[in-house]
Symmetry: C2
Subunit: 426 residues, 2 copies
């Protein structure tokens, strides 16, 4: 008897048949006595259809109006799912974000949730109803419809779970959990039964598509017990078995986890590298370069500046590939003359590979094992950056799969934690 | 410099190209200095698509959830139109029904507008923005999304015009006004420049598809100057010319109108006739029969009970053809035994033809001209009912076109008012 939030993605909601399956799964949990809240995405393809329609009107559509349009996809989903549940004999009610309300700021297209009012939903739950709430959207202080951006339904689900103080938030998706790396690249990749919040945050930020990063941040901030699990199992699978499947994001490191030095290998082929060559090594240069990029609303990931030689240094950073041309143009227009540097060069044929693990904090030698493993494969490292629980390298993108496989094996990830390679470098 | 409401139907909003045309037309009015409010329908086919999707989940979908889904079609429309206007350089903002708010009762699928708050919209208009409001929908006292039923956007537009005390409400549609009868049946049918509210109400209730009847009721109740005109003219057509085109619904009978005895011939092929034969002619019988029909939520149009013979009479009424089987079943189950009547017989192969005209009030002989005209064509009349400004007859449906043509000619409707046939019967 718990309060449980389920989240279902667009693929799970992709057809009337699949929506009936979602309803059957939710009904099973409801009949077991749980109070159920469900946050579904729009039907697969629907958000893209709506955005394409908007772009036929205006290639650069007004962001308020785009949110008005894009939010309808989820509104259809919640209505259909409520119908399907009632059709199974389960009382259900659907709400759009503004009806709960889910309050956000007014950053259309990438709004952030500020608060969620729980009263109405709790009343419904107390009355035995399943409550279905649109993902991806909310209402701003001016009463306008907002959306949270791509993947925002994960964040909606976790935020709803936090607001309702739910016992657990189950993210149903088309993979059965979080893996040590992408199984399409490394067949030996292993599903983790648990992952710490910090590791999940790095995995998400490093390109693992399993969870939207803001949902992980929310889970961390409000300590929402969140589980990633498969929506592809039959809906009538045993509930006790389903409840412990997938990967649980935890907030305590338990004994088992300590033994795994590296939990997973993440990778990202969406970035491009830009270097401003031979800039004077004096205060304000980093701000001058990155300030202009930030003003143009371009997100920067890695930033590298090395020791200067003869008062000159090379300043490098990575941006999303989609913003590469825009970033170059900004630098040419606003930065080159002021910085007085040399050439501005860039490269889109890169990828970033990261080793992530909370155990890294208490071990030396992870970096050297990583670099040696790549060197053994003849792979040159172009950039390096580190954090407390991850090491990321940029390499030529044609080596991506090779590097991921070598590192997965090098760190012994195909084995269960506790049997990790305790060789010299660890 | 006036406050004008435009309404555009689904066909006018049917594609990005057509939405751009709507925007161009609205922009023309806005640039001429008018304060503009626009109420568009969903894109053609969209409401049907959404309802079909719902019916794939549940053949008899929950009405609250169906409204939640169906309302999204208009939300997409208003967003797209706002974008298209901004794209023409016209400031615009879109609102869903709940944002205005348009308050309705909670009769899902056929909600009635109770009030519309004008404040937010008037502020936008004062700031020079075009305001685009979803047709067809509102919000009930419980905060649920409601829809007004098919054709509800006409009603939304007139209600918005009433709430804003607009100078005129222009209903743009795919016909260029209200005709003396359907021009597809009678090529000589003539567009009326004006029609009284009472006549328009009868024409709408009798099957003319030009305006939803509730919108006419609203126009009458709040004295909204309403004009039906073509959306098929080029959007850049001269505004002064456009402003006097189509058919104006008026609230005063002017001299010209007095001269037309009959304004139009309406017809309706959507009804079916049911007769309970030989029922006892005693108090309570009509209630017993129609009460059971009303309880089953079946609308009844004509009701006829004739003089009894030997204490027995035949009781007839018409219902929508879609509800014919249901009505028969109700009578068989609940009425037959209690009434103690004879056979219950029905006929779906009927149509209703009506002559409508405010001038009828001051003329005798309209009925006899109507009956003689039909008799001359060898058409048998099955039922007759009259009101102050219309006479309706039920005939076999295969004679519908013949009857409409004969009556249109018989009443001289192909001629301009003032040149009406002043023959013996008028």
């Amino acid at each position: 008897m718990a309060l449980i939030v389920h989240k279902y993605g667009g693929t799970s909601m992709g057809s009337p048949e699949r929506i009936r399956n979602v309803a059957a799964r939710v009904a099973k949990w409801h009949k077991a006595g749980h109070q159920m809240v469900v946050v579904p995405s729009a039907m697969a393809g629907e958000t893209n259809r709506l955005i394409a329609l908007a772009k036929e009107i205006d290639a650069d559509p007004d962001s308020r109006e785009l949110d008005m349009i894009a939010a309808t996809g989820e509104q259809v989903s919640v209505g259909l799912l409520a119908m399907a549940l009632k059709n199974c004999g389960v009382p259900a009610v659907s709400y759009a974000g503004w009806q709960v309300p889910v309050r956000t700021d007014n950053a259309f297209g990438k709004a952030r949730i500020m608060s969620i009012e729980a009263g109405r939903v709790l009343d419904d739950l107390a009355a035995g109803r399943v409550v279905i709430i649109t993902g991806f959207q909310g209402i701003d202080p001016g009463g306008n419809v907002t959306t949270l951006g791509r993947g925002g339904s994960d964040t909606s689900a976790v935020a709803v779970a936090a607001a309702l103080q739910a016992d657990e938030c189950l993210i149903f998706t088309d993979v059965d959990g979080v893996y040590t790396t992408d199984p399409r690249i490394v067949p030996e990749a292993r599903r983790m039964k648990k992952i710490t919040f910090e590791e999940m945050l790095e995995m998400a930020s490093l390109g693992s598509k399993v969870l939207q990063i803001r949902s992980v941040e929310f889970a961390g901030k409000y300590k929402v017990k969140t589980r990633v699990l498969s929506s592809l199992t039959p809906p009538d699978i045993d509930l006790a078995q389903e409840a412990v499947s997938g990967t649980l994001i935890t907030f305590e490191e338990d004994e088992t986890m300590e033994k795994a030095v590296i939990s997973g290998i993440a990778f990202n082929r969406d970035e491009a590298k830009i270097t401003v060559m031979r800039v004077p090594d004096r205060p304000g240069i980093a701000y001058l370069i990155l300030g202009s990029i930030a003003e143009a609303n371009i997100d920067v990931d890695m930033i590298i500046q090395n020791q200067s030689v003869d008062g000159l240094t090379d300043f490098s950073f990575t941006v999303h590939r989609n913003e590469y041309q825009k970033a170059l143009a900004v630098l040419e227009a606003k930065v080159r003359d002021q910085v007085g540097g040399g050439d501005i060069v860039g490269d889109t044929k890169i990828c970033k590979i990261s080793a992530v693990g909370i155990g890294m904090r208490s071990h030396v030698g992870i970096a050297s094992l990583m670099f040696r493993t790549l060197a053994d494969e003849g792979i040159n490292i172009q950039m390096i950056s580190t954090s407390e629980i991850k090491i990321s390298v940029v390499i030529e993108d044609k080596y991506m799969e090779l590097a991921v496989r070598a590192l997965h094996k090098g760190f012994g990830l195909e084995q269960q934690p506790g049997h990790v390679n305790d060789g010299e470098a660890v």
